[in-house]
Symmetry: C2
Subunit: 450 residues, 2 copies
């Protein structure tokens, strides 16, 4: 991949200090916006403002969207009203919505006051859609044509309107009341004869989203239909905007990060890890950990009930961490396989029985191989009786752990919860309880009859 | 989102059985390809062939790319050579490479024999790039123009060549030896005056990939630069193909699935969960589980060393599962936060010290709140001495678990390994060992002096 003038911050600093602004401007002209944003984040506030003000307006707005929220907020406090007004005007409506969503309420209100009446109406409308809905992601900047127009008329319209629209790769057809009729590749316009009508090249093969759909549905549509942009309609079928693949990729990444965090019992963070403070991290991690302390009390109570067996054969305790860890590990594997396969649409709710059969078979084979490994260890350390108990327990609890890991995501999903909540820690705790009960019951019984 | 004629398989079956093929064809004409693929996968092989043969050739190839590999392989065995030849000819080169990669070697060889000389040369070239490289993902079907052409000439060329190319939304500029010069939005051609030259609208602002780059680099470029397609050059700078966002999204999903699986100590699967057999699942899951059995033996050995302490105060065992689970849980949280932040480029290797400081602070606060919870339980169950040992241990092992979880991804990454290998099970095992050692050492010492 081409790497850019290895963002040499020191060079930029020197140019700023020496006020060689023409050189600096020339140098930055060839940098892609994400690189300029990275550069800005390494500069001090004064240098930042010098560089930011040097950028052409269209570019500076684009660079702004690549900054972290904290940096955006800080930069906004340094711009005067006139500059802020220009910055906002040059942001695309979807980037504007995102900014308003992420900034603190007061900052958002201040910005809204700087918008022109047209942009304000638009911002209010976009912010009016539910959080995490498609409406919040879309931009109203698309090009629409009428079915009765000729291709030549349509192309003329595209040429005049295209500059301000997010994409012209797909052209939308609406009726005179802006109701959505079709989505057509620009390619078809280019290939068609100028005197044909739009109606003649319409194929009415389209995928359309509602502004009230959950944004995850938009991501699913992107994955499935490979479209770079999707039209969005309101409840009357009026074309209110489009969502583009780049915004949907960001949403998909956010959702995946949430799933990863849930898999370790971390509640979704509002920002990236590096932007999240100590306080929020504790608040997002403590609840489940503390719940799991109380869940784990059951395993303690079960052990207490078997105090006599343990006092008689202390060697049983040697294998306790190993056994419950193995059960939890096998369970985490099953849960992770299920959760990810469900997220990717590979398995559905109706596949629960098939998945269960598969996991029971797999975990039985895993349990047997782990039992052989642990039998070898236990036999030489503690003799044949404990070795038998430990290896039999291993087989059973690996299967039980897998069962818990397999079934839990389906149960959660059945009750309308996110299957990703079937986290490693939750499964570990549940299989700990089951494991302790199985181990000491089996030990008490077997050692009693052997 | 629009839902499609709720894929009523029974209706299709009836139409096939009644040989009402004209109706069936008309019905399927409006279905998107992924829906037709889903339908096919629900039919029996005979019905499948009837429906597949009804589809227009262009459509059937597209539908074919949406089938699972098993289904593709089965369908290919039923097509005659003539049909297979047409199917292959209608696949885009990147879809063809993917098919050859995924089919068993023998099947691939049979297909290669059916290709025309031109397609065969192309397939051999694409398969010649390293596995998981950008070369394997790209398609040579792009539209290129020369800098000296006028816009009118270029548009004429786009019109004639565009039908067979993967995208015309970006037009590539090359010299007469096909060396890459620039990537230009089709929009700029549409907006420009017909008599301008291509040179005049070039801005030389582009991102370019090498065919030998790892495909993950292409995904990072997609995330960073929001481009729907990226040009790919060979070592001489010759434009050999383009990669498009839809293929990169598939790659990103695969990589994420691998990371998820690694986080639960499952080695990467070759296909989706539902396509993976029992044997492969066992082979991908057993190695780590068995390694972890042997790692866990250390915790057993440590417990054995403290046999006297345990025999004296059996109540200590009650809290063993809870304490080691808590340490493992906190460690999994830290590791998951690190691994995901590293994958998203949020934190880099150089951020290790900052992350460590943050995690120590967070885990100290978590440890204290969990210590309070467990103290309450222990005090009423076993009295103040054990309660003190248990809650002190809790604070220390939660911090230690978090330290392990934070540091391990950085260490793995430092030695060129995937940080995602710092899985929950691995961290659980390591923090089990540390936890057992800390718990019983502290207990022996404190109960000795109290």
């Amino acid at each position: 991949m081409t790497t850019f003038p290895s963002t040499n911050v020191e060079d930029v600093r020197t140019l700023v200090a020496d006020r060689q602004l023409a050189e600096l401007r020339a140098m930055l002209a060839f940098w892609p916006e994400p690189e300029v944003a990275d550069l800005l984040m390494e500069l001090n506030p004064t240098e930042q403002m010098v560089v930011f003000r040097l950028l052409p307006r269209q570019i500076s707005s684009e660079v702004f969207t690549h900054l972290d929220t904290d940096q955006q907020n800080e930069l906004l406090t340094q711009l005067n009203s006139e500059e802020t007004r220009h910055l906002l005007a040059n942001l695309s409506p979807d980037d504007r919505t995102q900014l308003f969503e992420e900034l603190p309420g007061q900052a958002t209100q201040k910005l809204l006051n700087l918008l022109g009446p047209e942009d304000l109406r638009e911002a209010r409308q976009l912010l009016g859609y539910p959080e995490e809905s498609v409406g919040r992601l879309m931009t109203p900047d698309y090009v629409a044509v009428r079915p009765t127009w000729t291709i030549a008329q349509a192309l003329h319209h595209i040429r005049t309107r295209g500059r301000d629209s997010e994409t012209i790769n797909t052209i939308y057809v609406t009726d005179t009341r802006w109701r959505f009729l079709d989505a057509i590749d620009l390619r078809r316009f280019i290939m068609a004869e100028p005197e044909q009508t739009v109606e003649q090249i319409m194929d009415r093969a389209y995928i359309v989203l509602s502004a009230f759909d959950d944004r995850e549905q938009a991501v699913r549509a992107l994955r499935r239909y490979d479209l770079a942009s999707l039209p969005v309609v309101d409840s009357d079928g009026v074309l209110v905007g489009i969502v583009t693949f780049d915004d949907l990729i960001d949403v998909a990444d956010e959702e995946t990060t949430e799933d990863f965090h849930k898999s370790a019992a971390v509640a979704p963070l509002r920002a990236s890890y590096s932007e999240t403070g100590i306080g929020e991290l504790v608040m997002k991690r403590a609840p489940w950990l503390i719940v799991l302390v109380f869940v784990n009390i059951f395993s303690g109570a079960i052990i207490a009930a078997f105090e006599e067996t343990i006092a008689a054969v202390v060697a049983l305790v040697f294998f306790l961490p190993l056994l419950i860890a193995s059960s939890g590990n096998a369970g985490s594997q099953s849960a992770t396989l299920m959760v990810r396969a469900m997220a990717m649409g590979d398995i559905k709710m109706s596949d629960w029985a098939r998945s269960l059969r598969k996991e029971v078979l797999v975990s039985a084979l895993l349990g047997i191989s782990m039992a052989v490994a642990v039998w070898l260890v236990a036999f030489f350390r503690t003799g044949s009786e404990v070795a038998l108990v430990v290896s039999l327990t291993m087989i059973i609890i690996v299967i039980v752990g897998s069962l818990i890991g397999t079934v839990l995501p389906f149960i959660l999903s059945r009750f309308g919860m996110d299957p990703a909540t079937a986290s490693g820690p939750l499964i570990t705790s549940l299989s700990d309880i089951a494991g302790v009960l199985i181990y000491f019951s089996l030990a008490t019984w077997l050692l009693g009859i052997l």
